[in-house]
Structures are given as structure tokens and as C-alpha cells.
Amino acid sequence: MNGAAPAQRQGAPLLEVRGLSKSFGAVCALQDMQLAGHEGRIHAVMGENGAGKSTLMKLLSGVHRPDTGTIRLRGRDVAFDQPRDAQKAGISTVFQEFSLLANLSVAENLFLGRERDRTHRLSRAEIRRHTARALAALDLQIDPDIRVGALSVGEQQMVEIAKGVLADASVFIFDEPTAALASHEVEILFALIRRLASQGKVIFYISHRLSEVFTLCDDITILKDGRFVTCVDTATTTVDAVIQGMVGRPIEELFEPRTGLFGPVLLRADVLAGDASPHPVSLELREGEIVGIAGLEGQGQQALMRLLAGFQPALAGSLTLGADRIEAASARARMAKGIGFVPESRKDDGLFLSLDISANMASAELARRPLLSWVPHMGAQIDAVMHQLGVKAPDAWTRVIDLSGGNQQKVVLGRWLHAGASVLLCEEPTRGVDVGAKREIYRQLRSFAAQGRSILVTSRELPELIGLCDRLLVIRSGRIVAEMAAEIATEDALLRAALPSFESDAA
């Protein structure tokens, strides 16, 4: 920090992190990290996806243990074996992935693990009273007895936040808390965070939304590729400088050039609607085109992808692949006709972790064969796909559990290359993938499209969508509300279309 800290940051920080490193297998998620949280200040932690923000916060909240480095709280070294230890030390985390239990009520969730006061066990009535008060503080009208699984995503997020606030901690970590919130909820949250700061709490606020960070935060720590870049005072920096620190390289380097050469329409959805996506959607994918779907968290991206892939039955409208009508076909039949699907959660829905690369890559091609058909030897084709994608592994018999995230993602992509898919429906293509592998994946997607096929992509990363795609669709509440060419699209314009608050010409 070179002594350049502004006046307000004098004094020893309440929480200080030094030389923190963490690796997962061969992937180094965080290296020699530093961070200092001062009382009463809201400290933003920024970086691209995969820059190590979430890993850092998971180390602070006791989910992971650091490989090296120290965490000092009030001048004393602390080590957390489990989240419980961090919570006892006064660090409260609002996780990005919900840690709420769907079968418990709001009240039970809020008091889970702290049913005990300092002196006695809280009675059910007390818990309800405390819950009602905490919910009221957030301006939430939610019944404390309601099952969390019956709440909307936004409500669940607010309950998650209420839980963090209720913990009466000295350090609060908010990991992308606004991802699923409506604008007025964001306002309530910000007011609450400012109030916590005014009470002398240390707040870490993880986000990649620049506008939020600049309105809310006092300090900004920037991470890149798992390393500390800089820590600056918000008042003395600019948006451009922060972006420069986060990206650190011209965007053109990361993405392949667009070809701009499109063939005829390959996939066309016409007022297609399903159970989970009741609003009819129409869209077209041309040969050679990569189309991105932008939107806030949980606006129906997933439902749309799964409707197109056939995992949700179509209730109305039509879907055409080439010359074939396929809206009545099952997912399996659509895949046989050339639709490929890359699910968002690689480990849960994408990979056969304890099987080898060969079995993982062959699965989609094999799935087209009858149950009792002879499986030919496919070693040469698999090797060719591995080589083409640059999968880093000794051979095709390596288990995918032993691969890095980037290589695992390449295996999932390779599955559809091997199966000869003509349309790829790709959810979050670079989630949990390091920067080098990201570039490789972008290159592969572009070359896939260049062969006269097309790709539909969803991503939480707006820069990724803008850089990767030819055309962008913005989805809000299950409706496609805007469309723009990626060349002229900006994050600002996309967000404007995606946020309900910017809506002026409501239909």
C-alpha cells in the first residue's frame, strides 16, 4: 500500500490478510493475497469472474482453509477450520450460493446454529419475535413461518441477508448480494449496509458492478488472476482506472475476431412457450452466428435454454432446426438431430467425474445409438478432438476428476464436437475457468461457429457476452426485451435493458 492510504484509513485494520494462497489441485485460485478491512468502511473486492474473489471470501468465512498466509483479526492471528469458527469470531457471510435450507421456515433458517442466546435457549416465540424484527428492518413482509423453498429467489436473497445481519458480527461479507434483487430491494440493502458501517462494522462487498461499487464503497481492492493488484480509495480513483486494473489487458486479446459471415437461419423459435417459461419467446440463430442472452440472475435464462434443448416440454409455438420441426421431439431426439447442450453446473450436470475423458467425450455420440448396438473403437476420434481442443491430459484414459476446470469444460465441449452437433446451447461457458483456458474456450466456440454452426450462450459476465457474441438478446422476467449487435453493445446499455428500474416504456 506504500503509505498512500488516505486519512480515514489510519489506524490498525480490524481484519488484515497477508500472503494468503490457496490452490485446488493444479489450479492456483489465490496467490499471495492481501486485504485490510477498517472499521466503519465499506470495502469493495473487485475482479473478473475467476479472479479469486469468491475464494478469498471463502477463506475468510472458514469454508476453505488457506495453504499459506495469515488472517489477523483485531491484531491476532486466527485460523478457521469450519464456517462455524469464522462465525464465532464475528465474521458473517452472505454467500452467493444460498446456504438457506429449503425445508426450514424463515425463522428456523435465521436462527440455525444460534438457537442459543448467551444465557439460554431461545424459545420459539422469541425466535419468531427476533425474526419479525429482522425482517422489518429490511422492510420485508415475509411470514416467519413460511418455508424458504416457497419463496421467490429475490426473497430468499433478502432472507440470506437478514441472516447475516442478525448475526451481530463485526465483519460482514456480502458476496454479489444484488444479483437477484429488484431495484427497490437494492436500495434497502444499501441503506442497511451503510447503517452497519456507521456502527463501526467492517464490510466487504464483492461485486463486479461498477456503478454499485462507486455509489456504496469507500475502498476498492482489485484482484486479477488470483493476485492482488491494488487497493485504492474510491474518492481518488475513476471507473476507467478500476476497469484497467481488473482487466489489465485489451479485450481484443481475449476474444477472437468476429467473422460477420452468416448463413441461413439454423434454429428458429416462434412464440415458443413452456411450463417454466410461460412467456412466448421468438428467436433465430443463423449459421456461423454466436448469440448471447444477457440478463440479471434468474430472469428465465435457464428455463429458456432448457425449453430449447427439450428438457421442458413445449406447450405452444414452434421450433425449427434446419427444415425440421422439432418442438414435439424429446430432448434426446433433438440431440440426435444436432442440438448440443452444455449445462451451467459442470460437476453436477455435465461431467461423469470418476469416468475417463474418453467416456465423457463419447457419451453424447453414444447416446444416439440403440441400446443394444455394438460400440466401435473411437480412440482415434477422441484423440483428435482432444488435440483440437488442446485438452491438457496424459491420455484419454485420464479421469476427468483429475483435470482443471478449464480442461473439464473443454471435455464437455468436446463431447458435442465429437457428436457433430450443429447448434450448441451453452450455459456459462467459462464459469470457474482460469483466464488462459477462457481464451482457449472462446477460440473454440468461435471456430465451432465458423464451421457453419451456431451457438446460443448465456453468461453472467457482460464483457464476456459482448466480446464473444455477434448479437445479444436481453431477457427480463422470461421475456426478451431487447436485442442489439454485440459490436455496438455496452455493459451500460445491456444493464439498462436488463434492470426493471430503467424501464420507462412498460408494455
Binding site: 426450514l104 421456515s105 428456523e108 433458517n109 444460534r114
Partner: protein
């Protein structure tokens, strides 16, 4: 997304089972109690004299007590998303230990300590070594059954006098089995609905990882569920040993699977986090009344197998799961 949800002050009965957390977890139990009521009505109409006779009801209580104990124990494991196939063997083991040639104050604690040890091993294997519960408890079941046969090769031995007194006859005009049932049920309901452990068990069964992230000692909770299950099985063994006044190394063999049946018929889901001991009460009574009713109606005992199987299959098919398989 609606910003401010309208919260109706009171919900209808159906909505309550869907929305209200407590009722949601007990919806299976409600169904079981409805079934039970139908069965009682049916028995009351078809064989009123014999079914409601004092002799029949007290026989029923005496017969059902062991199943109550193990099913309630199994409920804890199922709530924590586990599975305990070893309870039958633990019953047999405790019966074998309790009829060893030893002083009562020595062998009774040993029987329960042995059961607790089995529970610990089950929990350690399933939770810390991550062996699938069915495989882990299958293995311990075999080992424990082996030890039971080693200690007591054939039925016999002498039961502790105190158990014989506690497990036979009547007390204050009611069969003693009923007191065992009431005590075990009350304890189980208190543990699940009246303690911190209960809420944490529901949380752990729903999602162990998320529960751990909220600061619960989820692994310990799951291990505790296995220990409780084993201890309840040992209690069932003690009751059976007392009632028979002698030991039997195979006394628990049929009860192991019936314990799962009782809990599942009571609406406890194998996937964890939903159900509870209240439902298990209904589930066990359904099994008991079915057997009792078929006996009273002079139906061939062979049909009881068929009816039990059909009940089991129906019960698990009622709540459709997301995934097929185990």
C-alpha cells in the same frame, strides 16, 4: 418479481401444507393419520367386537412396542438423509448380550455401549469415510449379526429380572408395552421438535453442505442420528428379551426392514429433511393394524407378505422423487 409479497394472515389447510415449513415437513404424517383413521373405522365396522376388545388392544401394544422403538430410531437416521440397515442385527446383539452369564448391572450397560459403538461406526463410515449408508450398514449388520451368533449360538440364556418385570404384564391396568411406546414416542418427538438438535437434523438432512456453511456441526449431527438409531434398537432388544425372558440371536432379523417401513409409511422421505416421529407413530400403527386386522379376519398369513409389500411400494411411490435409483 413482486417486490412486496402479500402475506395473508391465515392460510387454507392445503396451502398450509405447501407453504408453512412445519406443516410441509409433516404432510406425509397427515396422510398417514388419515389412512390410519380409515383403517380403524374399517376394523371397527368389520370386526368390532374382537378389534376393540381389551385383550386384542393390549396384545397389539405388547407386539408393537419393539417396532415402535426401532422405527422411531430409524426416523432419526432417515431425517438426516441416512439409512440404517443394521438395526435388526443390533436388536439381536443386545438380546445376546443381555442374556450373557453376567451380573445385570454389568451386562445392561455393556449392551447399550455396544449399540452406541455400532452407531458410531455406522456414522463414522457414512459421514467421514463417505461410504454409501446402505453399503456401510449392510457391512456392520453382517458383523454385528456375527457377534450376536458368536455370543449366543442358539436361543436361550436368562434375561435380567428387571427387564422381565418391565416388559411383561400390566402396570396401572395398562399393558407395559404401552408405557414403552409412550415414553419412546415422547422422547423422540421432544428431540425432533423441542430441541436445537431437531432443527439442525432437519437442516442437515436437507443439505449437509449448506447446513455446515451456516455453522452447524452437520457431520456430528448425522453421526448422532446413527447412534440414536442404534440405541433405540438396543432398547427394542431389551424389551424383547424381557418379554421372552430369554435371548434370541435372530430376534431382530425381521424388524430391521420393518423399521424402514414404519418410518416411510409415516411420511418420512428417504431423501432426508422431511417427515418425523409423529408420522412414524401412524406408520407403525398402520403396519400393526394391518397384521392385526388380517389375523382377526382369518386371512392366510401368507397374504400378509403380499399386503405388506404392496403397502411399501405404494408408500414410496406417493412422493415422486426427482431422481430414479437408490
Amino acid at each position: 418479481m413482486k417486490g412486496k409479497p402479500e402475506v395473508p394472515p391465515r392460510r387454507g389447510l392445503i396451502a398450509r401444507f405447501r407453504v408453512d415449513a412445519f406443516w410441509f415437513r409433516q404432510r406425509g404424517a397427515a396422510l398417514s393419520f388419515a389412512t390410519l383413521t380409515l383403517m380403524v373405522a374399517l376394523l371397527g365396522v368389520t370386526v368390532p367386537g374382537t378389534f376393540f376388545s381389551a385383550v386384542n388392544l393390549s396384545n397389539l401394544a405388547a407386539q408393537l412396542a419393539p417396532l415402535f422403538l426401532v422405527s422411531l430410531g430409524q426416523t432419526f437416521v432417515l431425517l438426516g438423509a441416512g439409512f440404517d440397515l443394521s438395526v435388526g442385527a443390533v436388536i439381536s446383539l443386545s438380546s445376546a448380550i443381555l442374556t450373557l452369564d453376567m451380573a445385570d448391572p454389568v451386562k445392561i450397560p455393556i449392551a447399550f455401549a455396544a449399540a452406541a459403538a455400532v452407531g458410531l461406526v455406522n456414522g463414522w463410515g457414512c459421514v467421514h469415510l463417505r461410504v454409501h449408508p446402505i453399503i456401510m450398514t449392510l457391512a456392520t449388520s453382517s458383523i454385528v449379526q456375527g457377534f450376536a451368533l458368536l455370543l449366543l449360538p442358539t436361543p436361550g440364556g436368562v434375561a435380567p429380572q428387571v427387564l422381565v418385570q418391565m416388559a411383561s404384564g400390566t402396570f396401572l391396568g395398562l399393558p407395559v408395552g404401552l408405557y414403552w411406546i409412550i415414553a419412546a414416542t415422547a422422547a423422540a418427538i421432544w428431540l425432533v421438535h423441542g430441541t436445537t438438535f431437531g432443527v439442525q437434523l432437519y437442516a442437515t438432512g436437507q443439505n449437509p453442505q449448506a447446513a455446515w456453511m451456516t455453522g452447524i456441526k452437520a457431520p456430528r449431527i448425522r453421526v448422532m442420528a446413527y447412534v440414536i438409531s442404534s440405541l433405540m434398537a438396543a432398547l427394542a432388544g431389551a424389551y424383547l428379551t424381557g418379554r421372552l425372558a430369554s435371548g434370541d440371536p435372530n430376534v431382530g432379523s425381521a424388524l430391521g426392514l420393518d423399521s424402514v417401513l414404519g418410518a416411510v409409511l409415516g411420511g418420512t422421505l428417504l431423501s432426508g429433511g422431511v417427515g418425523g416421529p409423529i408420522g412414524t407413530v401412524a406408520g407403525v400403527l398402520i403396519i400393526g393394524l394391518m397384521n392385526n386386522g388380517l389375523n382377526l379376519a382369518n386371512v392366510s398369513p401368507y397374504y400378509q407378505f403380499v399386503v405388506k409389500g404392496v403397502l411399501l411400494v405404494t408408500a414410496v411411490s406417493l412422493f415422486r422423487r426427482k431422481e430414479a435409483g437408490l
